[in-house]
Amino acid sequence: MFAYVVRRVLATIPVMAVVALFVFSLLYISPGDPAAVIAGDQATPADVERIRASLGLDRPYLVRFGAWVWDILRGDLGTSIFTNLPVATMIAQRIEPTLSLMVVTLLLAISVAVPMGVVAAWKQGTLIDRAVMAFAVLGFSVPVFVVGYLLAYFFALEWDLLPVQGYTPFARGFWPWLENLILPAIALGSVYIALIARITRATMLEVLQQDYIRTAKAKGVGQSGMLFLHALKNAAVPIVTVIGIGIALLIGGAVVTESVFAIPGLGRLTVDAILRRDYPVIQGVVLLFSFVYVLVNLAIDLVYTLFDPRIRY
């Protein structure tokens, strides 16, 4: 197992190298010039050129790529063209809100969606099943920002129960922290809940047809024990896989959710950096997201062994 983990971690290196090359090349060929944005409307072409030179943007592709890779190997993600702050500092400022949003969304989604899917499978064909599936279709169909606006309208503007926007760091207390995350987590989690609930239902339906379930019933195992101990454990592998894939969905959805609820997270940082052509920030954040995604996949693979003892690495 240990050797497997080490091999997988080492395998992230070429993946990250490809991502780095891809991101750098894409930005290099994309239209837009940060020097022109910085220089402003009144700058002369000579001013723009001087700014471009001072930022090192006039150097050839290979020189810039080499310098960037060399910096990364030394643990330096570079400096933002616009704020003059280290990219690592900017990411550090933004990582807690995004992490908090993702964790709360994940917890909410799993705790709501898995029971929903199990109950829907158990009550297949009934009103409950149809209601769960209708909710899932709605969750897939309604965009995150629409859910966000509706939640903000009712819970903040109309009923004044929760704040409209912002983020309070965890260090300032659990409730202030959670208060700002409830609405965004529900908005972001709606798609995720729908996805997990559907997969859970489908997998559970398959498992519930298995002989060992019939045997368990015959032995007099109670409904909840049969559903959650026998059936769910065996249905867990596909569900865990979907949860892992869903983390990519969360990263994408976080961009929208952070905008709607003004959460200062990595999603907003990425969008702002792209609009300004702040290359070092874009490259740093994309690398981070790629790394996280690779690690999440590794974690999912390891979790499989907990649910299915036949899986060994």
């Binding site: 220089a39 933002s80 616009f82 309208y153 129960l161 704040p163 912002g166 200062p264 300004r276 702040d278």
Partner: protein
């Protein structure tokens, strides 16, 4: 009081009873002003970038030798006064005593000299001033001496410049930074201190009142002139990109001031009795249609003129601010309406009857032979995007062989810099808007330059405009400036470096309990909570 706060308060009644009385009498929240600014603050160096948000940050942190009042007259700020000698070729400015930077160091003349030297490398009017300067030096700790090659009547106006990199005073060690590199430290002597530990670009910018600040004892407060008296201990800028969210936060009282709500949000906010929506500046922003003079089809002067009968300024402005005519101006010339140089010379082609058919006739007479033209414009900046949409419809109706290229602002700015012809990625027409201060006079009026390759994109070569601009700098009084301004407009309407497409008021929204806001832009002295 917010309902959720009431609920929380109910839970903690016992604890509240134990609070010291003064804590209840002076709630900390009342001494904090929370504002959603027009844009994210990315760069902290107001000389390095011309972004308006960075200029506003500059006015928080830095002070200037002179401020500008709402009649566009320079008034002393850090300066105690000045002496003009040798027939205007020597100007000595004396600093007020006791001025201090936020790091506790005294403000010296050497700091001012270094700051002005850096500013003169970047600011357009500063660059002009530099051509008149023989020497700029410190005479002791409190006197700044300009030795000029010839008198420069606009010296004090230049030092009070409001827009496009105002001459903010920084400590000498910081001001010695290459003007094309960003400064790394924010130390000013202005009414607020920047709090670097709480700066999170894209989320929050925090300023604290500078307790050492000594407002100028002279003048009355207007625009950037007069005493800068601060009534808040702390100002927080909350960057909220989503307009609906910002509006909701203003309505719930989570923020106090939303600097630039878009028109559809303004209508919503006017219905809230706790919110006031009003013009942030009594002077309007000005919209323009810029034409590329380098390549066909608009290198043809007759074709540029042919567009006039088709331009309805009201149509363009309605697209920007909505149909309410009290929010926009039409019949606008090349200077900001309501300012001393605004005039009606040669405006008939824009103010007479509007007619697409007449424009088509003139296009035929100008020899337009279906050459391709490209209209470029942004989709993510409200006013230029709206004007571009109207412009796109217009060029189609006029029968141009038009390629409409819309993109984000960053891409548009880059594409705009291209001097290539249309078939090699260049452009022919674009729309944008400028602040009222940019078009107050010819000094920083970039679309009005006619200096060819050195001009603002579009690159018109119009020597007469340059001559008149130079003459304006040397005009001895306002009457002479106004005469030159009329001539400038006549030349502009003949050569058509651009076409004015109207002017519009920028609206702001604030909680009703805020009063005495200084008109102009987001300034944080004077404003107080009632």
């Amino acid at each position: 009081m917010l309902r959720r706060n009431l609920l929380m308060a109910g839970a903690g009644m016992g604890a509240v009873a134990a609070l010291p009385r003064f804590a209840i009498a002076q709630p900390a929240a009342a001494r904090v002003l929370k504002m959603v600014p027009q844009a994210n603050l990315t760069s902290l160096d107001p000389i390095w970038t011309t972004a308006n948000i960075t200029r506003n940050h500059g006015y928080m942190v830095y002070d200037m030798l002179y401020g500008m009042d709402d009649q566009f007259r320079p008034q002393p700020q850090m300066a105690e006064g000045h002496v003009v000698e040798e027939g205007g070729r020597r100007v000595a400015i004396t600093l007020r005593s006791g001025l201090k930077f936020h790091d506790g160091e005294a403000v010296r003349a050497a700091d001012c000299v270094a700051s002005l030297a850096r500013w003169m490398k970047r600011s357009p009017i500063g660059q002009k001033l530099e051509t008149f300067v023989d020497a700029l030096e410190a005479d002791g700790d409190r006197r700044i001496v300009f030795r000029l090659k010839q008198p420069f009547p606009l010296l004090l106006s230049a030092l009070a410049q409001v827009s496009n990199s105002p001459p903010f005073i920084m400590p000498e060690r910081i001001a010695r930074t290459d003007p094309f590199q960003q400064i790394r430290e924010v130390v000013g002597s202005g009414p607020f201190r920047f709090v670097p530990g709480e700066f999170n670009s894209g989320s929050r910018v925090v300023y604290e009142r500078n307790p050492e600040y000594s407002p100028t004892p002279v003048g009355t407060r207007s625009l950037t002139a007069g005493p800068k008296v601060v009534h808040f201990d702390r100002v927080e800028w909350h960057i909220i990109v989503d307009a609906s969210t910002a509006a909701a936060a203003l309505q719930t009282g989570e923020i106090d001031w939303y600097e630039q709500p878009p028109p559809e949000i303004q209508m919503l906010l006017t219905r809230n009795r706790n919110v006031v929506v009003e013009a942030i500046d009594p002077l309007p922003l000005v919209g323009i249609m810029r034409l590329n003079h380098l390549h066909p089809p608009f290198n043809n002067k007759k074709l540029r003129q042919a567009l006039f009968p088709a331009i309805s300024q009201a149509d363009f402005m309605s697209a920007v601010v909505g149909p309410d005519p009290s929010l926009y101006f039409d019949k606008v010339g090349v200077f900001t309406p309501g300012t001393p140089l605004a005039n009606d010379a040669a405006l008939e082609p824009l103010t007479g009857p509007r007619s697409i058919d007449r424009a088509k006739e003139l296009m035929r007479a100008a020899g337009y032979a279906n050459e391709p033209m490209r209209l470029i414009g942004p989709t993510d900046i409200l006013a230029p995007a709206a004007m571009t949409q109207v412009g796109a419809d217009l060029v189609r109706r006029l029968g141009f062989n038009a390629d409409i290229v819309l993109s984000d602002w960053g891409t548009t700015v880059t594409r705009r810099a291209s001097r290539e012809p249309v078939d090699k990625g260049g452009w022919s027409m674009l729309f944008t808007s400028f602040s009222s201060f940019d078009f107050v006079d010819p000094a920083a009026h970039f679309p009005l330059r006619g200096n060819g390759a050195g001009a603002w994109p579009g690159w018109p070569t119009i020597p007469k405009l340059e001559e008149l601009r130079d003459a304006w700098f040397l005009a001895p009084d306002l009457a002479a400036q106004q005469r030159i301004a009329r001539e400038i407009q006549e030349v502009a309407m003949d050569e058509v470096p651009y076409i004015p497409v109207g002017a519009y008021l920028s609206m702001t929204a604030q909680r009703r309990d805020l009063a005495d806001r200084v008109k102009g832009f987001a300034l944080f002295w004077g404003i107080r909570r009632t």
